[in-house]
């Protein structure tokens, strides 16, 4: 999930961190030799407790139970996950193991030479089962091990569907079915669809679900974002035209523009809004809060691309830095985290799924959560296309377009024009990045 974008780290933070690491090393050196648990020491910078409470417990337990090396873990602040790593890597002081968001959030570090390819370090079956996703592939190598998944889907309130005379077990599959359902909901006095777009993330998620419907590969998306393909072509902005349609028909909730993402999803859970966008990590709690009355679905299909109707699964991951002195030891720890015993421990500590297709899902009690995992995690899925978006496009086009369409300030076609302009502008601002993106687009267009 990319709710957080990259922030910079201050020199003070670097110095403080260095001092802490230095002090830790110094005290470590003062201990008698017999006091060292293991000869090998690994530094691991990680994130995720912020979005998945319990992860700290899992990390602590994993470190305590690992006998082949001493692992020193540091939970990173949300604001500095990327920049702290990149600054340390540039200075040659990066940790052995680094937490990595998906797509461009770690690919830039790959291009800067801060991460090691894992093909030769991690056993292929473990790497594949962890689903690092296609967005971690570059130049024939893979740069992350998957850690935990973030399925993305549309949710709906089954009680409101029933109230409007809709079948709660058969959510709309096509765009026309969606419009018909929205009309019925509206007629029943229920706000049909929406959420909260004030902080912009709803816009991003809408692109994740909508843009891919007219794409054949994720590489095509990269070509769009860097201006090698044109957003003004109708099929590439059709999703925004569809959003405009929802707006014009009065199906979006009235307070959508002034609400943030999560309060918007809360409306669905509270029975005040019928359909919204959400992520899997919310489902256990939302399902529990409604006695299983939250349903899930793929965004109803309107597009004709090969990716239309595919479930979306984003995955958070871990990688090995180029500064790692003993990459094999780091790889061994990452493999340990994927062992069946650790996968079970992950579930026990977090109440959420680890990213591994061999995870024994029989431990999942909630049928909604199990069903969602089987439909999203274990069947063919695609990654989140907005993780391919360059930061400049994200800020200047991905976020504002949705916000402006929802408030009626621009049309879907104008959104396409804005996106095309910003893609062109990105090239002017980032001439040194164009070739990397083009290479990545080629990788992402290749069959996997």
């Amino acid at each position: 999930m990319d709710i957080t974008r990259k922030l910079n780290v201050s020199r003070r933070d670097i110095i403080r961190t260095s001092m802490m690491i230095g002090a830790g090393s110094a005290f470590g050196g003062m201990l008698p030799r017999g006091a060292h648990a293991q000869e090998k020491t690994l530094d691991m910078w990680w994130w995720g407790e912020q979005e998945l409470p319990g992860l700290q417990k899992f990390v602590d337990g994993s470190i305590a139970g690992y006998k082949d090396a001493t692992v020193k873990a540091m939970l990173q602040d949300t604001a500095v996950v990327i920049s702290q790593f990149q600054t340390a890597a540039a200075a040659g002081n990066a940790p052995d193991i680094q937490y990595l968001w998906n797509g461009i959030y770690h690919m830039e570090s790959v291009w800067l030479g801060y991460l090691r390819g894992l093909n030769s370090l991690i056993k292929p079956d473990i790497l594949k089962a962890s689903n690092p996703t296609q967005l971690s592939h570059f130049g024939g190598d893979i740069y992350r091990v998957g850690w935990y998944p973030l399925p993305m889907f549309w949710c709906y309130n089954k009680d409101l569907f029933e109230k409007a005379g809709l079948d709660p077990e058969a959510p709309p599959k096509t765009w026309d079915e969606l419009l018909a359902a929205c009309e019925k909901l509206k007629s029943a006095g229920i706000e049909p669809i929406g959420g909260g777009i004030q902080d912009g993330y709803w816009s991003e998620w809408y692109i994740s679900h909508g843009l891919v419907q007219n794409l054949d590969t994720l590489g095509e998306a990269v070509q769009l974002f860097i201006g090698d393909k044109d957003f003004r072509e109708p099929k590439y902005h059709e999703h925004w035209v569809k959003l405009e349609e929802l707006k014009n028909k009065g199906y979006l909730n009235q307070d959508m523009s002034s609400l943030e993402l999560y309060p918007g999803i809360d409306l669905v859970v509270a029975g005040k809004l019928a359909i919204g966008q959400t992520v899997g990590t919310r489902l256990p709690a939302d399902s529990k809060a409604t006695n299983g009355r939250i349903g899930y679905m793929v965004m109803p299909v309107f597009g004709k691309g090969k990716l239309a109707g595919m479930p979306i699964v984003d995955v958070q991951g871990l990688g090995i830095s180029s500064n790692a002195e003993d990459p094999a030891a780091a790889a061994a720890f990452l493999e340990y985290l994927q062992s069946p015993e650790r996968l079970k421990a992950f579930w026990d500590a977090t109440g959420w799924l680890p990213s591994n297709t061999t995870f024994d899902s029989s431990v999942i009690q909630d049928p909604s959560v199990r069903g969602m995992w089987e439909a999203w995690g274990l069947k063919p899925n695609i990654s989140n296309v907005t993780n391919l978006v360059p930061g400049q496009f994200y800020e200047r086009a991905a976020i504002p377009t949705g916000q402006q369409i929802v408030q009626g300030a621009i049309t879907g076609e104008q959104a396409g024009e804005l996106a095309a302009t910003v893609a062109k502008e990105w090239k002017e601002f980032n001439p040194d990045m164009v070739e990397n993106y083009r290479k990545w687009a080629t990788d992402l267009s290749a069959p996997t």
Partner: protein
């Protein structure tokens, strides 16, 4: 005086000067340097004025500048409100002690705190609109933070509310230093409230008002980040409706990984702020002179 003894005072202040040079001077030099480079990571190649060309050629930058300039419209309102409230407090209207606390509170609270509260208040289904609807004033129940046409004005309301507290503190401090006998004499001569304000109080407060205006101009141009960050959903939204130069710099540095662009915009903002500091110093001198 020998050369050696002339140097002694400079030696005393040298450590502090070096510290200041390191804390302020070094980053400033680096920012100027970065503004001429295409920085990736922690350095990059020299590209001359290209960053400045890109910044000055981008619509978003000028839109941000325009929003900063629009915020200047808040200053007259802040001055008037601060003046009226400070004079009322000075005249010790009934309950003035309580009022004084109430008007100072916004300035004591951190901006993000009051901005989060205000944001909730101004949501489309929030308390402000609920009250307006209850009063049958539905036409005034706007989408305060969700509409591009209104959002910047909503931010301005918040700024006026909070920054006026500073004006009240400054003005009240000045009022308390005035010669009360002049005001008493005017009262005895039959001058009404407005006449006392217009002919006795205001002329003596000119310096502090100038000072407040200059500080407020600098605030509007270079210190409204916290307001727009919270109220604009962290992105100067909806769309780009509340984007200001500081947020433009923040986005360039943090979110789009363009330190060179961020540095070029920072240099431009720095130069404008420096230009504004001269009138600030002049205003401060005037305040001191009047108070003396």
């Amino acid at each position: 005086m020998t050369t050696q003894s002339r140097l002694v005072p400079y030696l005393y202040i040298a450590p502090l000067l070096l510290l200041l040079a390191f804390v302020f001077g070094y980053p400033l030099v680096r920012i100027f340097e970065f503004s001429f480079k295409m920085v990736r990571g922690i350095d990059g190649p020299w590209i001359g004025l290209r960053n400045y060309q890109l910044v000055l050629g981008q619509d978003l930058f000028w839109e941000s500048v325009l929003h900063n300039l629009q915020l200047l419209l808040a200053i007259p309102a802040m001055v008037v409100i601060s003046l009226i409230v400070s004079v009322l407090l000075y005249e010790r209207v009934a309950g003035w002690r309580l009022y004084r606390i109430i008007v100072f509170v916004p300035f004591v609270l951190a901006i993000p705190i009051i901005a989060v509260v205000m944001k909730r208040m101004f949501q489309f289904s929030g308390p402000v609109n609920e009250v307006l609807r209850w009063l049958s004033l539905d036409f005034l129940a706007l989408d305060w933070i969700g509409s591009s046409d209104v959002a910047l004005w909503t931010v301005m309301i918040l700024i006026v509310w909070r920054e006026s507290a500073l004006g009240i503190i400054l003005f009240l401090a000045r009022l308390l230093s005035l010669d009360e006998s002049m005001i008493e004499a005017a009262k005895i001569e039959g001058a009404n409230w407005w006449q006392r304000l217009r002919y006795i109080i205001l002329p003596q407060m000119r310096g502090v008002i100038e000072f407040f205006v200059v500080v407020s101009v600098i605030t509007m141009l270079a210190a409204v980040f916290a307001y727009v960050f919270v109220m604009g959903g962290g992105r100067g939204g909806p769309g780009t409706a509340t984007m200001v130069v500081e947020l433009y710099i923040f986005n360039a540095l943090i979110r789009t990984s363009l330190p060179g662009i961020a540095s070029a915009a920072s240099v431009l903002l720095f130069l404008v702020s420096v230009l504004l500091i001269f009138p600030l110093f002049r205003a401060r001198r005037r305040v001191r002179k009047l108070e003396a």
